[in-house]
């Protein structure tokens, strides 16, 4: 056996696994999506059918809002945690990263305990305002849940990026007369841009596709993963749910690619 064919043979298990668990199901999904009564047009339903389109828009808005708020909270927190040493810092960081250990179902459960009908916020507002504030089962509850599990992922990336910042850059800007705000605007935030794109992409993709939390909070939340689930299990509409799945993947991927190229050109334009 030649050296070359030996290497090819070693690649065989990988090829089999990839084919069995990735390529074949993908291909099947794509085929199923086009197998409905509308044929290939089923793929356009995600854009043309008003209910689907509204759900798509909802999902993108929710994921965008989650990403932006997560980045703001995580940047401020991450910068503080990386730059300051105080008693209990290690414990605080460990606590902040704790949500990573929870599945979406548990996060949803916690949101219900906080903002549900018997929740903490409802009890409190009932006593103070005489009115029960309940938002766990709406898109706001879902937003809170997504924030909860996006922040730890982003914080860790931001902290690593802040640690690698050359403090000399900030000192140089200050020596040239820059106020603390100007230093952040002109030096620190541009230097963190790659970390924002990388961790923001993860937060966005997670928020686009997360299912467990939405399913737990359920009832009247219109997001794509929930729509796919109902079309699939309740309506047994295989072709539409397959088309929606492919659409969800492509749209998420497109938005991430756009964000990356935009931030890339922004860096090039500034530099």
């Amino acid at each position: 056996m030649s050296h070359r064919s030996f290497v090819w043979l070693c690649l065989l298990p990988l090829a089999v696994l990839t084919a069995a668990f990735f390529l074949l199901p993908m291909a099947r999904l794509v085929v199923t999506g086009a197998a409905g009564p509308q044929g290939l047009a089923g793929y356009l339903a995600i854009l043309t059918e008003p209910r689907y389109r509204a759900t798509l828009l909802n999902t993108v808005l929710l994921a965008t809002a989650t990403t932006i708020v997560t980045l703001i909270v995580a940047t401020v927190t991450g910068m503080f945690l990386q730059r300051h040493r105080f008693p209990g810092r290690a414990v605080l960081i460990a606590t902040l990263t704790f949500p990573l250990a929870f599945p979406g179902v548990v996060v949803g459960f916690m949101i219900i305990l906080l903002a549900g009908r018997q929740g903490l916020i409802g009890d409190f507002s009932n006593r103070v305002l005489g009115e029960k504030l309940v938002f766990a089962y709406s898109i706001y509850g879902l937003f809170l849940g997504y924030l909860y599990f996006s922040i730890p992922r982003v914080i860790l990336t931001i902290m690593a990026a802040v640690q690698k910042l050359d403090t000399g850059l900030e000192e140089a800007a200050r020596s040239l007369g820059a106020s603390p705000w100007a230093v952040q605007r002109d030096v620190v935030l541009p230097a963190l841009a790659p970390a924002f794109v990388a961790s923001g992409a993860i937060a966005f993709a997670t928020a686009m596709g997360a299912f467990g939390t939405a399913f737990t909070l359920a009832t009247n939340i219109d997001v794509l993963p929930m729509l796919i689930y109902t079309e699939f299990t309740l309506a047994a509409n295989f072709s539409i749910s397959a088309a929606l799945s492919v659409g969800l993947g492509i749209i998420t991927w497109l938005i991430l690619a756009l964000a990356r190229s935009f931030s890339g050109s922004a860096v090039a334009a500034a530099g």
């Binding site: 050359d166 000399g168 850059l169 000192e171 140089a172 800007a173 200050r174 020596s175 040239l176 007369g177 820059a178 106020s179 100007a182 002109d186 030096v187 541009p190 230097a191 841009a193 860096v267 500034a270 530099g271």
Partner: protein, 353 residues
């Protein structure tokens, strides 16, 4: 603009010490005066407190209670760096990677609200002065080390600072480039005529650039003087050994002579002490035939350097003696050699406290 503006501010630091939060004493309280337009070099090995002193003057560190920093007689101790009007060049250069060369140089002017046109004119002036024409639109990662150094200097000078602070600006460069840029930097600093404080651990940089040199050791000022004073009349063994090559000789004194194993060496002045520690520079020792020489010893090794040769001679003093001989002298290790030293080349050092 006043007549003094081009020459910057005078600096006085009073009883400035620095103790860090963990209790390490980086700098013993020190007082130092720097005249307007003077170039002062802070020289010493790493950890001697020179960078801490620079950062106190810059406003990046606060001195311990009781310390004061004055620019032109005005107390600046509580003024943060962004309002001290100092130009600073960092060892890493700290150029902004998200800006072009000209945006880097113009950043301080932009912050000060200087109009675009005026800013461009000033940037062009500095690009010409620092010899980096053609690089204006480059990104920082497209520059060589030497080019970065020039951009960093141009950026610091662009704001017409009262004081220019340089923290080991040549250390990151390779040796050949460092030598070339040292000369260039020297001409530039003379041309600017601005008050400059320059931190380095390299004694040849200190010699070439400094009007005065402050030699520091373990957080204390060991000696302040012109490069000549520091070289020829060091006041301690540390300074003698840190600046240039030095032979340190311990010997008894009799009738104005050092009594050495290899002979007697006359010394200047009235040294009415029984023993002394003396410094002799290698280039002040003359080589001659052993028979007629006042001192003699055995050559241990000969290193041919090119413009001279360096001999290590044992048996003359308590320790082997380094001698710089002309490159024409024929010397072989193992041979006996004669040495003579002029009395005024022997510098007696005060006893170690």
């Amino acid at each position: 603009m006043s007549a003094q503006a081009g020459h910057g501010a005078s600096v006085r630091i009073e009883a400035c010490g620095k103790t860090f939060a963990d209790g390490t004493r980086a700098l013993e309280p020190a007082t130092l005066e720097i005249a307007r337009g003077e170039t002062l070099v802070l020289l010493g090995p790493s950890g001697c407190g020179k960078t801490t002193m620079l950062r106190i003057i810059a406003g990046l560190e606060l001195p311990d209670a009781g310390g004061r920093v004055l620019f032109d007689g005005k107390d600046m101790t509580a003024v943060p760096i962004e309002r001290r009007n100092v130009g600073m060049v960092f060892q890493s250069y700290a150029l902004f990677p998200n800006m072009t060369v000209s945006d880097n140089i113009g950043y301080g002017l932009k912050i000060r609200g200087v109009p675009k046109k005026e800013r461009a004119a000033r940037v062009a002036e500095l690009v010409a002065l620092t010899n980096i024409s053609g690089l204006e639109n480059r990104r920082i990662d497209q520059l060589s080390g030497g080019q970065r150094q020039r951009v960093a200097l141009a950026r610091a000078v662009a704001i017409r600072p009262g004081i220019l602070l340089l923290d080991e600006p040549l250390t990151a460069l390779d040796a050949a480039l460092r030598d070339r840029l040292r000369g260039e930097l020297n001409r530039l600093l003379r041309a600017l005529g601005i008050t400059t404080i320059y931190v380095t651990h390299d004694q040849s940089e200190a010699m070439e650039l400094g009007d005065r040199v402050v030699v520091m050791q373990k957080g204390k000022i060991a000696q302040i003087g012109t490069p000549r004073e520091i070289y020829f009349t060091p006041n301690s063994r540390f300074v003698a050994e840190f600046i240039g090559a030095a032979n340190i000789v311990e010997a008894a004194i009799e009738n104005g002579h050092l009594v050495l194993p290899g002979g007697c060496q006359p010394i200047d002045g009235d040294a009415n002490m029984p023993a002394a520690v003396a410094m002799i520079r290698p280039e002040t020792i003359r080589v001659m035939a052993a028979e007629s020489a006042p001192l003699s010893g055995i050559i241990d090794s000969v290193s041919f350097i090119g413009d001279r040769q360096r001999l290590v001679v044992s048996g003359v003093s308590n320790r082997s003696l380094t001698v710089d001989a002309p490159n024409t002298v024929r010397a072989k290790s193992g041979e006996r050699i004669g040495l003579s030293i002029s009395p005024d080349a022997v510098r007696l050092l005060p006893p170690e406290s």
